[in-house]
Structure formats: structure tokens, C-alpha cells
Amino acid sequence: MKNAPLPDKPFRILPAVTDQNAHFWCGGKYDELCFLRCDVCATYVHPPAPVCPECLGRELSPEPVSGDARILTYTINHHPWIPGFEPPYVVAIVEIDEQPGLRLMTNIVGCSPDSVSIGMRVEAVFEDAGEDGIFIPLFQPHRDYAA
């Protein structure tokens, strides 16, 4: 994971950062993609919740993952939904390597939209939102592809 400045940063609608979600939205400052993890059975939980969905354990703590993931599905968006967030851009749902079903919606950056495919390996990269300590977790083609 590299906290690299990305070209052409779009206008983003930012999340409301709370005590519950700060580990996810702000962990990028330290190049970390963090999720809550159950202290008892080690299940990652996302979005954050005050209970483990597997064992109903009530103690969960933020923990970084590798940031490596696979694209489950994506779309190339062409419509200007948000002024300042100019299409085309890729919206994807990625699954984090550490746990089947641990997934999030994101953008695929650092490559041509036409080069994106389902099953493609990607890695987290963070965009400094410049407000509220937020670093947006985005994904780019996995470093293995560059080798």
C-alpha cells in the first residue's frame, strides 16, 4: 500500500467520521486499510458494528489488513452524477484477501478503465481527502502485475 498522490483528484462527497468508523476512513494516513475484527473468533466485520455476526462477541478492535484484494464486479460510469467528479471512472466491489465476503465499494484507479476486469488483483491506495483526517481507500492494479 502506498499513500501516493493521485492525479486529477475528483470532488468527493465525504463520509461523516464517527468513533465507530474512523479506523476505516482515517487509517490511510498510516497506509493502513483497517476493519473491525472480533476479539474472540477473529472475524472481520464491515461496515463497523457493535457485535460480531459470527459469534455475537461484543469486543471488536480495528486491525489492518494487507490491502490486497480481487475485483468481484465493477462498472465504468459515464454519467456526471456529481459536479466535479468527472466521468468516466470505475466503481467496483472488491473482496479483501484476508476473508471471503469482506468487501467494499471503491474506485479502481491507476489504469485505463478499459483494462479493468472481474477477478483482477488489486491493492489499496489512499487519497488524502484533505478534510476530517479522511483518506479514501481506492484500489489500483496489484504490484505483481508490474513485475
Binding site: F11, L14, P47, T73, I76, H79, W81, V91
Partner: protein, 405 residues
């Protein structure tokens, strides 16, 4: 004990206001038009109405025109004396409001429930291209913050429309099953062909495969014609207790079964199966509550907020196997008015207008009552059983209606 309470419910009347682009009319007036139309259609008077149900309720911040009236406005405008009422959007899709009404009459809380849904998105959104969720109510400015799982984990990524979310489900279906845009096109082409026979449909010009393939891309694989058309309009449905339905004007349409299940996570991006959506569970539940089978259904009115959702409903309801929807609709013959399973006979929401789920149920009733005019399905007799379904993503509900006693 296996209670199937919805069999105690019947649809006895339907109503609809004017439907169109930018009508510029008071949405409550549209609602009252539809409600009075439905009461009259049932042969009832407003004094008979003792229940009121709606989706999504009177106010949905950040979604201009998404709702035109809530329970309170209609209750008061018509000075109804209600024994039961319910409005909201945390439901199994838009038809959840009608299912609630079925449950209310089955449990004796009400006798005749007026259900309604009003949209005025065309007027409220004004000119220009469709805007993202929340944009216009502050999300386009730097001060706005996205809250709640649906908004918080989608809007920061520019995924500010269900078009983007559902395009990803379509892409997964394309990937898993080899579905192609030329196949998906048939949902839009069929809708347009049917709309040409419906004087109330908003888009009635002919549409060719070339028109579809050359249309402006919205979010791949969805082009403009894969996305429904925002309109102004209101739809009303009367749900009556079966024994009380005997006194109404028309043949009551028995509610044979409903499906409301959601067994996966209630989330646009966390639902386990990205290509079936919540429709899977709702449809499976419906068939567990009836002896009827998909082959008994004469007409299907399946939500097409985006074309792919109708394809997914066809699969979920078992008109074809999961994954075979693309092949099933290829060429369009099977879903045409004279096909195996006539689909979205009024033009769907794609060409008929986005009445948001209630229009699908309304049309199912139109077809069972033989009121479809030029678009009426005859095989050669009128269809006896219809399915109406609404919702996509983590929202889904469906109803099976029968005109047979």
C-alpha cells in the same frame, strides 16, 4: 401450522392519475385523483375505506419528487376514518406497502385498505440530466457528509445512483453467464413495443436495436434506455378482505401468494450473491406459499427500474433458470404480448414511466380484468394468473394474483 394469510386478501379496485413528464401538478392532487379513481373502480365509497397504506411515506430527504404524499396528507384530505394505517420505506420493496395491507385485512385490522404511491420526480428534478443521490440537497457542496451504511460507503466513490450499483450486478451476471447487451436490450425493446400500444405511456416512439446500441452510456452496461424514465404520477390499489370483496363491483383478484423474504445482508454492496439480489429470496418464498407454478402465470409485470432487474426477476421467479435469462429473452419473442410469458405489458417503467413498483401491480390487475385495450394479453382467453414484482438490490417483494375463485 402453515398460515397463508394473504389468501384472505383480494384486490378490488385500481386507480391512476395522469402520468407524464413534468406535469407541474400538486403531487397531493395527483394522489387524490388516483385514490378516488380506485375507490370508484372498486364500487366503494370513501366511507368504506378503513385502512391506508403507502410507500415510502411523506418525506424522503435528499430525493426530490421520490414521494408526493404520505399517510397524513391523504388521511386528512379525504377525512378518512381509519382503523389501521402504515407508511414507510423499510419494507421488502415498494409492494411491501400492499403486502402490509393484505396482512391487515387478513388479521381483521381493516376491511378495505387504500394503498397508494406517488412520484413527481420529473417535475421536482427539473431540466438537465439526472443528478446523483443527495446532489441538490447539499451533497454537491463540500460541507455535506454522507451518513448511514448505504450513503456512507457508496457516495464517496461517485456511486451516487442505483444505476451504478445495479450496473455492477449486471456486470457480474454478464461475467458468470455470458449475458450480452444485445440480450439485455430486449427488456427495453419489449417495453417500448408495448408502450406503443398504451396511450398513457410516456415514451411511445419506435425503438430499434440500433437505437439501443447507440444510446448514450450511463454506467456500463447500462445505456440511457436501460434506465427508467422519471415521471409524475400516482397509483392506488384497494386491498379488501376476501369476504368483504364479494360486495365490490368487479371480480376480486385473489392474492394467491406474496414473497417478502430477505435472507442475505440488507445492503447494496454486501448482499452475498451479486447477480440475483434480494429477488432470489422473495421469489422463492412466493412459490412456497402456493400450489401454482410459473407455467400457470399468464402475464408478468416485473420491476424494470433498470432493465437488468426485470431479467433477474424472470430468473428468480423461475420463468427460466438462474443464468439463462439472457438466452431466454434473446430475440424478444418469449416476453412479447403473444409470447410464452408476456412481460411489462404497459411499457414497464422504462417506457411507461417510473411509477416505482405500484405501476407494475396496477398493470397486473389491468391485464387480469381484461382492461388492457390494444395491449391486452389474450391466449386466446384472458390471463387468469399474474405476477407483479418490485424492487432491486436488497429490496424485493412480489405478489401472485388470480382472477379465479
Amino acid at each position: 401450522m402453515n398460515i397463508i394469510g394473504e389468501k384472505q386478501a383480494a384486490i378490488t379496485g385500481i386507480g391512476q392519475s395522469a402520468v407524464g413528464r413534468r406535469l407541474g401538478r400538486d403531487p397531493l392532487a395527483l394522489t387524490i385523483d388516483a385514490c378516488l379513481d380506485a375507490i370508484e373502480d372498486a364500487g366503494l365509497t370513501r366511507e368504506d375505506i378503513d385502512g391506508l397504506s403507502t410507500y415510502p411515506g411523506g418525506s424522503v430527504p435528499g430525493a426530490p419528487g421520490f414521494t408526493g404524499a404520505g399517510i397524513t396528507e391523504v388521511h386528512d384530505a379525504l377525512r378518512l376514518n381509519l382503523n389501521w394505517f402504515c407508511g414507510g420505506m423499510e419494507l421488502p420493496g415498494q409492494l411491501g406497502a400492499v403486502v402490509n395491507a393484505c396482512a391487515a385485512v387478513a388479521s381483521g385490522l381493516a376491511t378495505h385498505v387504500l394503498c397508494f404511491r406517488t412520484v413527481w420526480e420529473s417535475t421536482a428534478q427539473g431540466g438537465g440530466s439526472r443528478k446523483g443521490i443527495g446532489v441538490g440537497s447539499g451533497a454537491g457542496s463540500g460541507k455535506f457528509r454522507a451518513r448511514g451504511a448505504t450513503m456512507e460507503y457508496t457516495l464517496p466513490f461517485g456511486a451516487a445512483s442505483a444505476a451504478v450499483w445495479i450496473a455492477m450486478y449486471a456486470m457480474r451476471h454478464f461475467h458468470e453467464y455470458g449475458t450480452r447487451r444485445e440480450q439485455l436490450a430486449q427488456i427495453a425493446l419489449n417495453a417500448r413495443a408495448n408502450a406503443q400500444l398504451n396511450p398513457n405511456a410516456v415514451y411511445r416512439d419506435p425503438m430499434s436495436m440500433d437505437d439501443y446500441m447507440n444510446a448514450r452510456m450511463i454506467s456500463f452496461p447500462f445505456c440511457l434506455f436501460d434506465c427508467d424514465a422519471p415521471v409524475d404520477g400516482s397509483t392506488a390499489i384497494i386491498v379488501s378482505r376476501a369476504d368483504a370483496a364479494a360486495d365490490t363491483r368487479k371480480t376480486p383478484l385473489r392474492v394467491e401468494a406474496v414473497g417478502t423474504a430477505l435472507h442475505g445482508r440488507p445492503s447494496w454492496d454486501q448482499f452475498d450473491d451479486l447477480s440475483t439480489m434480494a429477488l432470489r429470496d422473495a421469489a422463492a418464498m412466493l412459490w412456497k406459499r402456493t400450489d401454482l407454478k410459473p407455467k400457470d402465470v399468464g402475464v408478468a409485470e416485473l420491476y424494470d427500474g433498470f432493465s437488468f432487474i426485470a431479467l433477474a426477476w424472470l430468473e428468480a421467479l423461475g420463468f427460466c433458470a438462474v443464468g439463462e435469462g439472457g438466452e431466454f429473452i434473446e430475440g424478444g419473442e418469449r416476453i412479447a404480448l403473444d409470447g410464452e410469458i408476456p412481460l411489462n405489458t404497459q411499457g414497464g417503467q422504462l417506457s411507461g414511466g417510473r411509477l416505482h413498483g405500484f405501476g407494475m401491480l396496477h398493470e397486473a390487475c389491468v391485464q387480469l380484468w381484461g382492461e388492457g385495450g390494444e395491449r391486452q394479453v389474450r391466449d386466446p382467453a384472458l390471463p387468469k394468473v399474474a405476477v407483479a414484482a418490485a424492487g432491486g438490490g436488497p429490496l424485493g417483494g412480489c405478489m401472485l394474483l388470480s382472477s379465479e375463485r
